[in-house]
Symmetry: C2
Subunit: 314 residues, 2 copies
Amino acid sequence: MGTIIAVDIGGTHLRTAAYESEQFEPSAYRRVKTLADEPGVFERMVKAIEEVRPHDGPLDGIGVASPGPLDPHTGHMLATPNIKQFDNFPLAPKLTEHFGVPAFLDNDANMACLGEWKYGAAKGHHDVLYLTISTGIGGGVIANDRLLQGYHGLAAELGHTIVDPDGPPCSCGFRGHLESFSSGPAIVKYVLKELENGAKSILKPDPNLNAKQVADAALRGDALAIAAYRRAGEYLGIGVASFLHAFDPSIVVFGGGVSQVGPLLFDSFHASLRKRVFHPRYLDNLKIEMAALGDDAGLLGARTLAEQSLQAIR
Amino acid sequence: MGTIIAVDIGGTHLRTAAYESEQFEPSAYRRVKTLADEPGVFERMVKAIEEVRPHDGPLDGIGVASPGPLDPHTGHMLATPNIKQFDNFPLAPKLTEHFGVPAFLDNDANMACLGEWKYGAAKGHHDVLYLTISTGIGGGVIANDRLLQGYHGLAAELGHTIVDPDGPPCSCGFRGHLESFSSGPAIVKYVLKELENGAKSILKPDPNLNAKQVADAALRGDALAIAAYRRAGEYLGIGVASFLHAFDPSIVVFGGGVSQVGPLLFDSFHASLRKRVFHPRYLDNLKIEMAALGDDAGLLGARTLAEQSLQAIR
């Protein structure tokens, strides 16, 4: 087998890595600015792929992890909120056209899930639930050793699970999603609303307040900041209880910046989960772990997607 | 290939059928009373299998559809609320011991899903969501042409999805599950509570009231009865919206007695679903259909489970 090139399109950086089969470390790696608002994202991607491409051996395929919505079955980006150039853009077919090899595409949370399953925290598990908690909540599911993609390629959008029909609006505009309770911006919004209602806190009603600042205040003992994370953890437990009932995984893996805060979020999460799981058997031998691959999960997932997809079409 | 015997354990009847490969109709069929409260359920099952068993050809295996909770990976029944004899009972191993052939077991909703996928309303679909709505709400999911079973064999318990953390208690004792809003008993409970609160209705506060009587009252124009079904449909739409986000199927199949009432439940279901699905693409080409196999779904699913499992171990 020849080289696989993996691409990870992030909000600020676009990264490419070349992987030789059976080797964990990339043989070449490149990181450039995405500059999502400016034209030429695709051209920057092509250049960053050229720069890691081997010159002395065959290129077998390309795998791409990108923010959605997208269609992994056709490799097309759909209407994108973030990268204007990718609005209804046939990304994988364009890469195939340019490089003459098969190219595959799936969303960043699915790719991080696949990466953690193949190389990281969920290695050896057959049924995996992955959740990334940051500015949004993304999900990924492995069932029977296979990534759950769905008919339209839109499965595992678990941040948009309705956990309370009358809950606050989500970033997507709909009400009461898990993301509208437990993401970073949801934690901040709760603090700002409570400040407006007269709650006492060392935090100021600053429109630029972020989840990290709330976490810092909580660690200094601020009651409002603590309550904000506790609430996020409680709803996270409600959501994950339903996900256990739905997918019955042997491991839950948490990635994303907000999940780095530790007990502040996870004490109430665990209490809520235990209170909400309707049969104790779901928790037998269930592992709950932090993601192990850090920023490389998306690249390693995109690599795995390309390897698996190439095997399937051979 | 020889004969497969399928068993369907229902609350009132226990049924067995013998299937020859490639033939849809059973070569023999038997229906006896389950008598769940009385001892000897296993012995009645063995007798009903003996009675459909071929005498002139090999028996290849046995598939069983049963109410849960159970472990499909070991074939053991767990703590059963309904059939006392099956409390922590190694059902599939006992059948193997008796008949000398492999035996396989999974829960009735999963088996109905598998049956509808192989022979019924979901034939040809690769990603299926099945929901049965009667005294409880059971779920089944096919992803990538494979039944979702999960690590403990407890996946797709979709009636126990939390749709409102402060909602009414479910039959399982936990709060706010889809089943506690949209099952038959949930519809009845809502009517009784509203009657207690002084709501006007042709229905009387009868503790033996059932969902069928509420449906009859609704069809006669009773406002409370109509509101009860409308509320059940609204929550069903909320639940199914989250299931689309999670599983992204190409078809949703409804079985069970309560789903037979038609527009009374499904008008508000469709309106609620359309209002709650967060991306219109989930609805592209999505089929929403009634189950096609009636009472035979469980038998045909158990048959399919046995056929697939035998293929996998060969």
